[in-house]
């Protein structure tokens, strides 16, 4: 493919007064796995919906697989595969019939359907279950089948909107092993959204999005390196006094996060003994961690992803009502 697989410039989407997406620019290379990371309501789904031609941007433009998402909608659609957060399978039909239905809807050349069917079901390990009704599938199997269906017409870009949401950790891990295998077997660009920090590490590059804007964009490694500091969390008898003491005694700015006092220091393991030697409040527990993407998010936004969700007013409320379960047109 010539040029970037996805290119976005100045993308804005407004729902009435609310700006769900507030000026996004990015460019994704062919065969790259790109992660969109952020709390619920950050604008991830709105952006993905625009890139999939499901909604129109208020301003700005986007090209996917070389086609404009507004003016060349069908060309975009022919070249993308979609896996949504909610299942979009026909559970009354068998796995195979779901894929054949997809092949017909997409107008796949008839002589390619059988071999492609086998190929995609092999990738997700469901060939043996092809004759079972989807209603008998577990959540993880349904997600795998949806990934297979998304691949059926050999899209150049595969969109995975929260591919592991609602799945247990074991199933999540297995979905990821299938996605990794898929990357080895197909030349495909993957654009995925997630709000699981650990999953974002599977990506080549990550954009951290918060309140409709990209606040950081780099490889997971570079993002973590940019933080540098270790993260220390302490549980104390009096958090307010502890935060004040940290500021006056050590010059460290600490905040409350996930119910505990949290702060960053260059070398956490050396800092903790100093902390115990001279501290006005009883410390009940200490946790020191190396920087993770969680910390990256924290350092860019000043809050953890869970706190961001808890305090979120859901700026895309209007969008989810339009495209969420119940009213997706």
């Amino acid at each position: 493919m010539d040029g970037p697989a996805v290119s976005v410039s100045g993308l804005v989407r407004r729902y009435g007064e609310v700006e769900a997406v507030r000026g996004i620019d990015l460019s994704i290379d062919p065969d790259e796995t790109f992660g969109f990371l952020g709390p619920n309501g950050a604008g991830k789904s709105t952006t993905i919906n625009i890139l999939c031609t499901l909604i129109k941007p208020t301003a700005g433009s986007a090209r996917v697989a070389g086609y404009d998402v507004v003016h060349e909608r069908d060309d975009v659609r022919r070249n993308i595969g979609l896996v949504f957060q909610d299942t979009t399978l026909d559970s009354y039909l068998t796995a195979e019939r779901n894929l054949r239905l997809h092949a017909e809807l997409y107008g796949m050349p008839r002589n390619t359907i059988d071999s492609r069917l086998r190929q995609v079901l092999d990738i997700v390990g469901l060939w043996d279950r092809r004759s079972s009704k989807v209603s008998t599938f577990s959540g993880g199997m349904k997600r795998r089948l949806e990934i297979a269906r998304g691949l059926m017409h050999s899209p150049r870009v595969l969109f995975l909107d929260e591919p592991t949401i609602g799945l247990d950790p074991q199933t999540r891990a297995s979905i990821w092993s299938y996605i990794r295998e898929l990357r080895e077997r197909e030349h495909i660009t993957i654009f995925m959204t997630t709000h699981y920090m650990d999953e974002a590490e599977y990506c080549d590059r990550i954009a951290i999005i918060d309140q409709g804007k990209i606040i950081a964009l780099d490889t997971p490694h570079a993002l973590k390196a940019s933080i540098g500091e270790d993260r220390v969390q302490i549980h104390t008898a009096d958090d307010t006094v502890a935060i004040a003491a940290l500021a006056t005694q050590f010059g460290v700015v600490a905040t409350m996060s996930e119910g505990v006092v949290t702060f960053g220091v260059v070398d956490g393991e050396q800092f903790v003994p100093k902390l115990f030697s001279d501290f006005p409040v009883a410390i009940r527990s200490v946790n020191v961690s190396r920087p993770s993407l969680d910390d990256v998010f924290m350092s860019y936004t000043g809050t953890t992803i869970r706190d961001a969700e808890a305090g979120s007013v859901d700026p895309v409320g209007a969008g989810s009502a339009l495209f969420g379960r119940g009213a997706r047109q």
Partner: protein
């Protein structure tokens, strides 16, 4: 077979062929769903059967003089043929709401095909299912003293196809705007029963009070029920007076509307409704 040996598929640009394939697969899916649900086939026959055999038998105690000796069940029969199609068609279009609730609609709406192909496929699918259900009712003709004449069977079937098309299109218009199954069910109940009772399915449409005459002539179902009754009654041996009273035909201000025009009217209304449904489904992006 290894993955590497299989060539990558390229989806060709949209063409008439691809649109027709989309229509066909959406249509086929409706049929697969219908035939895999035997219980639904039986239950949607239950209500018409109750009207025909229970109400028809019970009411005949009251109405034996009004029908000039014609069995009330026989009189009800054409109306019940229409009723079966009415209920099945509306229920079929509910699958759109269902698909939306269960997400499958989204899979269809993001495909590189026109929205109109999806809607046409749905409409033809629903109409086929309703017509199939209608055939089961035609099969009951013998039980109510109606002969199995080929012209009767074909005539009624043709009208049922038209009617089921119109009704499915109508229900799709409703389904395009409704996002929840409960709302759809409540709304169609509210619309279906008046359509049925005003249509003259259960009574002759001449000599009615003015208000009822007006409402009857507005009801599109009237123009499908009346030709059905005409086709069925033309195969019954009745005195001219009884025929005039029981199968008077529809009039507009004294002008007797020909059966063929009625059928064309049903087709035109169906096409207009289909156009509205397509516009509604295309509008939303």
């Amino acid at each position: 077979m290894s993955a590497a040996t299989v060539a990558q598929v390229r989806v060709p640009a949209r063409s008439t062929t691809s649109e027709l394939r989309a229509i066909k697969i959406v249509w086929q899916r409706e049929l697969i769903r219908y035939f895999s649900d035997r219980l639904r086939i039986v239950t949607s026959l239950l209500q018409p059967a109750l009207f025909l055999f229970v109400l028809g038998t019970g009411l005949s105690k009251l109405a034996s003089q009004g029908t000039d000796g014609l069995n009330l069940r026989t009189f009800f029969y054409p109306g019940i043929l229409g009723m079966t199609v009415l209920f099945t068609a509306v229920f079929s279009a509910a699958s759109v709401v269902w698909d939306r609730e269960f997400g499958f609609l989204r899979e269809m709406l993001v495909a590189p095909v026109r929205r109109s192909s999806i809607v046409i496929g749905k409409c033809l699918g629903g109409a086929t299912v309703a017509a199939a259900q209608g055939v089961l009712m035609i099969a009951m003709a013998g039980l109510v003293g109606v002969p199995y004449a080929p012209t009767l069977v074909l005539g009624v079937f043709g009208l049922q196809v038209l009617l089921s098309f119109m009704l499915t299109a109508f229900a799709l218009v409703v389904a395009a705007r409704v996002t929840q199954m409960q709302t759809f069910m409540a709304l169609t109940q509210m619309l279906v029963m008046p359509l049925f009772f005003l249509s003259g399915a259960m009574y002759p449409v001449r000599g009615l009070p003015t208000w009822l005459t007006v409402l009857n002539r507005i009801d599109p179902l009237t123009y499908a029920i009346d030709p059905m009754r005409h086709v069925v009654f033309s195969h019954l041996s009745l005195t001219p007076e009884a025929r005039e009273r029981l199968d008077p035909g529809v009039t507009w201000g004294g002008w007797h509307v020909p059966v063929l025009l009625e059928a064309v009217l049903v087709l035109v209304i169906g096409l207009v409704l289909l156009g509205v449904a397509i516009a509604e489904f295309s509008r939303s992006d």
